[in-house]
């Protein structure tokens, strides 16, 4: 059975999704939409097959050929666009982060249930070969019981005067564009996936050292106590040079060993049972396709077979809950228990009050 895909939002990430849908047996891109109509027409013309181009996503959602909406708009618009798509009877695969607040996520889940459609959040990093390999080793009990998962990353700080042109993260009101939500939701999702732990209490330091007034935060360290009993610590530090630290990536500590997933060509490093650290390669089949291919194939199957999506709304919402708890923990100086209270579920993290002008020469 062939499903028609409508892609909403044609920014940087859209190419990967369109490529994957084109490679997907049973999937075909039938429509694209972008507020920039020229861009929509350009993408429609550049791709094979007949693709309708829309300036307004609502027109795309009214298109009867569209079975699945691929929602790639800025995070603060995910809820509005996804709910409209589901209310129009479309299945939705929505980019991460799911939405700026837990309340937004809940509204998306409700729309899914009331329309009896599928909703998946595109947490692509858990479909990367190293994530799948680490997860397999954990499931095989190669490191015993998981004790902790630590992940440390660097990122470029965004200093005043370095604002890229026309990027949605720098527009006023664009909630959900801070590093905790934007990058952190990938890191916590992958750490949860690898370790099997779900946060139940979160303690966070969120700060801004070099990027004042440009992005809400440029560094954070967030520790979560989980169920089952393990801890996940995620840190990201904005710096002024582009480099990877020796520890960039994930380390999963277990009772009898540890796994390092720090980008070794899809494989991971394993030290267990008192043996020297050795490389465990990814299954070759994992290198035959991209993470986005796997993601789209999994979602397609869930639609066709009416089975749970590979990343459900409830699952992805936990990443937003973690991020929200981290912001609140840092603001209040206290550890936050999950689930959050109804008031805190509506908290959407920081957002810019005014749109920043792009730096000259961009």
């Amino acid at each position: 059975m062939t499903l028609g895909y409508g892609v909403i939002g044609l920014g940087r990430i859209s190419g990967r999704h369109i490529d994957s849908v084109e490679r997907l047996e049973g999937g075909r891109v039938v429509a694209v939409a972008d507020a920039n109509e020229e861009k929509a027409q350009h993408v429609a013309a550049a791709r094979e097959g007949e693709i309708s181009a829309y300036a307004d996503h609502r027109a795309l959602l009214a298109d009867a050929d569209v079975d699945v909406a691929v929602v790639l708009v800025p995070t603060h618009l995910h809820r509005e666009v996804s709910v409209a798509a589901m209310d129009a009877g479309k299945h939705v695969i929505c980019e991460k982060a799911m939405a700026p607040s837990v309340a937004d996520c809940m509204a998306m889940i409700e729309a899914r249930d009331r329309n009896a459609v599928k909703l998946m959040i595109a947490h692509s990093t858990r479909f990367q070969p190293q994530s799948l390999t680490a997860r397999r080793l954990v499931e095989e009990r190669a490191i015993g019981q998981v004790v902790a998962c630590d992940a440390h990353f660097t990122a470029g700080a965004t200093q005043p005067g370095e604002v890229p042109q026309d990027f949605w993260r720098f527009k006023a009101g664009a909630a959900g564009h801070g590093y905790v939500v934007n990058f952190g939701c990938h890191y916590i999702d992958t750490a949860r996936y690898m370790s099997g732990g779900d946060p139940v209490a979160v303690s966070g330091h969120v700060g801004n050292r070099f990027s004042q007034g440009v992005i809400p935060e440029d560094h954070y360290v967030i520790t979560a106590l989980c169920e089952p009993d393990l801890s996940i610590t995620i840190a990201q530090y904005g710096t002024l040079a582009n480099y990877r630290t020796p520890s960039s990536g994930y380390v999963v500590f277990g009772t009898i060993g540890m796994i390092e997933a720090t980008g070794h060509a899809g494989g991971v490093l394993l030290a267990a049972g008192g043996e020297e650290m050795r490389e465990v390669s990814a299954d070759p089949s994992l290198l035959q396709e991209t993470a986005w291919d796997r993601e789209h194939r999994g979602f397609y199957r869930s639609v066709i077979d009416d089975t749970p999506e590979p990343v459900t709304g409830e699952d992805a919402m936990r990443n937003i809950e973690w991020a929200t708890a981290a912001y609140l923990s840092s603001e209040r100086g206290c550890r936050m228990d999950l689930p959050l209270s109804a008031d805190d579920q509506a908290h959407a993290g920081p957002h810019l009050d005014e749109t920043l002008s792009p730096a000259e020469g961009e």
Binding site: R209, S231, T233, A235, T239, A241, T255, I256
Partner: protein
Amino acid sequence: MSVHELGYGLIGCGRISGPHIDAIAQTEGARIVAVADPNPQKAEAARAAIGGEVAVHADWQELVADATVEAVVVCAPTQMHAEMSVAAMAAGRHVYCEKAMAASMGGCRAMIGARDRAGVKLTVGQSTRFRAPFAMARRLVERGEVGEVVAVDATFGGPANPPEMGATDSWRYRAESAGNGHIINFGCHYIDTARFLCDDDPVAVSAIVANRFSPGMIQEDQFVVTSTCDGGALITVALYCTPASTMPGDEGYVVIGTEGAVSALWRPDRVVLRRGGEGADPVAIDDDLREGPFVRLHRQLRRAIEDDGPVPVAGEDAMRNVEWGLAAYLSSERRCQIELPLSADLDGYVGPQLARTIPPTRD
């Protein structure tokens, strides 16, 4: 340097006394003239290791009163550090006290007060920062190789103490021993080295402390402690102890800067520098840093006594490590971030203690 031979008295002849005996033997103008330990076998073993004429005291107070003793090395359990050090300084002795400085902030402050009153030297054995790879990493940071420091991360593994493993006769299993939890005992090394690497001091501490595998045996076997520092750096220190302790033996720190990062591992010693756009460069450790940490500490202390110069690790400096550890306990208990300095009404706070002494069942 031709210096007067200073008489040293060693209080506590447990495991850590060995490196001190070796280091003092390699320090010009220093000789151990007296030892004290409540266990006569341990005292005798230390005397034999030192060689020559060494007085053996069963009571540390006798050693402090011994007129041939001019400097005292305190290697007793943490909760006795303050009492012993203060008594030694009040008797006019210089003091080298093992880490952790003391079990409480009150103890630390009493030691600093005694030092100032007596006009003697006091140093605390925060030896890890003197280890070659960490000292080299600091040198790279000082040279500006990583730019401005943004963060220091340090994660460690270690053995848990499950009840079935039983206890040894170590003071760490005694109920009355305050300051014997891993946060104070090991953590004070980790935070000291991290502070040294970034030259920044915690102003707020947030921690999660847990006991997963060692219930009733030790205070905690797992912690993750994040500190924001005065100069803007973030320091995150974690320890995960597991029954099999199969985690990497290398103990390491990563210093993340605006322009690059340096990682420093001990056992085996390795320093690696990474900078924007460049690969990872192993860095050779400078020869002058290769001397053992205890030798470097003792030589610096001896010089400080001779020249009335600065000690290797001042009391005010080491006190911050204890304060960090106590703040971590408080943060975990209260589930809130704790701001430093700790208020004076917490001077007697020593963190959690064991409910009972665990009788030794193994060597």
